[in-house]
Symmetry: C2
Subunit: 251 residues, 2 copies
Amino acid sequence: MPHRSNLQLFLGRLTSRSLLHTDEQQAILDLPAYASQVSGNQDFVCLGETSDFACLVAAGLVGRFGQNAEGGRQITALHIPGDMADLHSVVQPRAGSALQALTTTTILRIPHDAIRRVAARYPAVAEAFWRDCMVDAAILSQWVVNVGRRNARTRMAHLICEAATRSRKDGESQALTFQLPMTQAHLADSTGMTAVHVNRTLKSLVDVVKFSGSTVHIHDWDRLAATGEFDPGYLQIAAEPAERLRIAEPA
Amino acid sequence: MPHRSNLQLFLGRLTSRSLLHTDEQQAILDLPAYASQVSGNQDFVCLGETSDFACLVAAGLVGRFGQNAEGGRQITALHIPGDMADLHSVVQPRAGSALQALTTTTILRIPHDAIRRVAARYPAVAEAFWRDCMVDAAILSQWVVNVGRRNARTRMAHLICEAATRSRKDGESQALTFQLPMTQAHLADSTGMTAVHVNRTLKSLVDVVKFSGSTVHIHDWDRLAATGEFDPGYLQIAAEPAERLRIAEPA
DNA sequence: CGACATGTTGAAGGGGATCAATGGTGGTGG
DNA sequence: CCACCACCATTGATCCCCTTCAACATGTCG
């Protein structure tokens, strides 16, 4: 199956927080997936739409968008490759916000039916799905704090720290260079700022972090994390297998 | 059992969105619950703490709190009676944010064990729990938009509309008077503003909505909803039983 | 009655928005 | 191969929403 490696990436996300047996892992890898390309700044899930599949990001970058009455856009979540952008749609099929590709993106559509079948057969998988959704919620909660109670520099630094940490490959230490194909307008929509002010803020951070095209170079992680008031705990990235949880069918 | 009516309220929340059979409903009503009082401005779940119970709000008001480095507080969620304030803790026992009573509050502590047993025995209940958590996430997502892309008047109006709609009793139409025991400082922490500016903003809304102590009087719902850009869809309050979902064990 | 939380009001300042223009850069087609 | 165009980054000038600080009023509860 050609999509195997992408499902593997998603499985890696799950197993970094939840303990799954090999048959359960296999069931996830065997999920049917239908690839499609979406070009930048194009919605592939629209507000209010009812879908019968969930979207796994295979490559590129996806943003969840909200909007105010004047048309001002606000990104409420970012999804990088390996993320299931709308796993919640399994349990709540009517989309409460739009999903848009921020750059050319490949997504795998996975039918809700198939996901539900796996979740019904393996309670530990259902639990892992639920937990994954709750990590997204924890991130959302941090974003409220970020936008509500931090100034521009801190917001921007926090966003970059989060993106860097989430981009980290399983087992690796913090990468100081990673891909983040966002324009300054996207950064503005993520932080509740203006594109103009994003530009000025990035300039003020230039000796700590630097964008070159779609790759980010962090020169001083400690300083970036300090100015971003960043504590990675909420991302629930288990360092040790022992920290991974399994509630279903206790041994 | 003395806590029966509170569990009934929680059950009502669940069944307003999910279809549950009578035995499943009964299992929820039979959950063990240990009441405790918390006085205002007092944390009862602390950041980073690992808990083995979830907290059902029986009376009063609860806020989930985040903080920035300078000590600025940000409320990221409000929980009214009938809400399980940290249902997510079932699947993620380490608290990512603090829970604080905003006024004198009664909470019922329900052991994770018991909740897990019910969820394991009745998949439809597990699904209802998951769905309930996703409604909280949808609210969180709206808060990001609110704080990120709306001005003070709109923010405040939106918050009040949301509180009013959530306070609505099952089956009733929109109440124009309801309890919301929050100080202006609490409102400020919920909207990412200053207490001073909350005061001025409320004054500018005075012919649409008015606080008297802890009760809110809405004089003109339509105008309040319009200035708050409020669309209740995200709260997923099913008007018709037919809109309620059940995925497990399809008929 | 006194202490303390909460609400109210004024004055001044700033962080970020807004508006507008210019400079890069990559893609595309003639 | 270059002209053109769309998109993105950058910079300056001005404005205003909201913050900050400070004082005072009001209420409430021991």
